[in-house]
Point group: C2
Chain length 165, copies 2
């Protein structure tokens, strides 16, 4: 059973452990791979509107944030980021977090959710978001310098949120 | 004759005067229309990689910034924003600033320029960017709550930069 709850200050070590693995690899997030612990936690938690963790047997195995994607006239669309521990990948944790984040987004009054940079090389993520109702609304050519594949395209993905989710 | 030069600290009053008009209207930039002077200057100048002003007869009539659009693997694409005084609109100042910014971007090592949120309701801007070689690479539905037109779509626009510009 996965439990989803708001992140607390004493989760920082576990969250950083998850983020470090993904950020250091530099293959999915537009984050400097050499980012410091404090800067990573600031980006993920402090600068988010809310941050959550996913626990299995009281162990943190995933985390996500929800942010307002643009200010002013764009503030009705949120953005989320998700990270799952490599040890539990493929068990549906990302799906659970994404569904949870959509419900949270509706509670917070957002009308839509947007991912600004989903790498075409990250086929698993693209397929997952599409299965969860997101559409590719844009394709940015050579948007990302992948450490192994060179320049790869990225999709802008978007989903209108409905109260029935 | 328009002169383009780097913004200086003593340009702040003139830059804020230009930004205030556009930000308060809330019809083009994803910025809170009630943004303070300090926050607007921070967004435009302090958080930019570089900021420029356009002068005619020693009067500042336009300003633009250049920023890195995404960190890490996305850091080879820049983002710019441009504001022209209503008094001199239609005289090609935005075109001059955009061409200038493309040259600056190449000097800074960027490979492409991206606008993340060009409102479909801002037809003049869309046509200008297209004339200058930008392509619509995405369309975000109902991306912006326009104070007069309600929810309007926005385009993601992109141009690969070539040394021949």
């Amino acid at each position: 059973m996965t439990t989803l709850r708001r992140a607390r200050p004493d989760d920082s070590a576990a969250i950083w452990s998850l983020l470090r693995e993904v950020f250091r690899a530099g293959e999915t997030y537009a984050v400097d791979p050499r980012i410091s612990r404090d800067a990573a936690l600031s980006y993920w938690v402090s600068h988010a509107r809310e941050a959550y963790v996913a626990e299995i047997n009281a162990e943190i195995v995933g985390t996500y944030y929800i942010k307002t994607n643009q200010a002013g006239g764009g503030a009705h669309i949120c953005n989320c980021g998700y990270v799952v521990s490599a040890a539990v990948r493929g068990q549906g944790i990302a799906t659970e977090m994404c569904l949870h984040s959509q419900a949270v987004a509706l509670d917070l009054g957002y009308r839509a959710m947007q991912f600004n940079l989903v790498l075409a090389s990250n086929g698993g993520a693209v397929r997952l978001w599409e299965r969860l109702g997101f559409e590719r609304v844009g394709t940015i050519p050579e948007a990302f310098a992948h450490p192994k594949r060179g320049f790869v395209d990225a999709f802008v993905m978007h989903k209108r949120l409905e109260a029935s989710v």
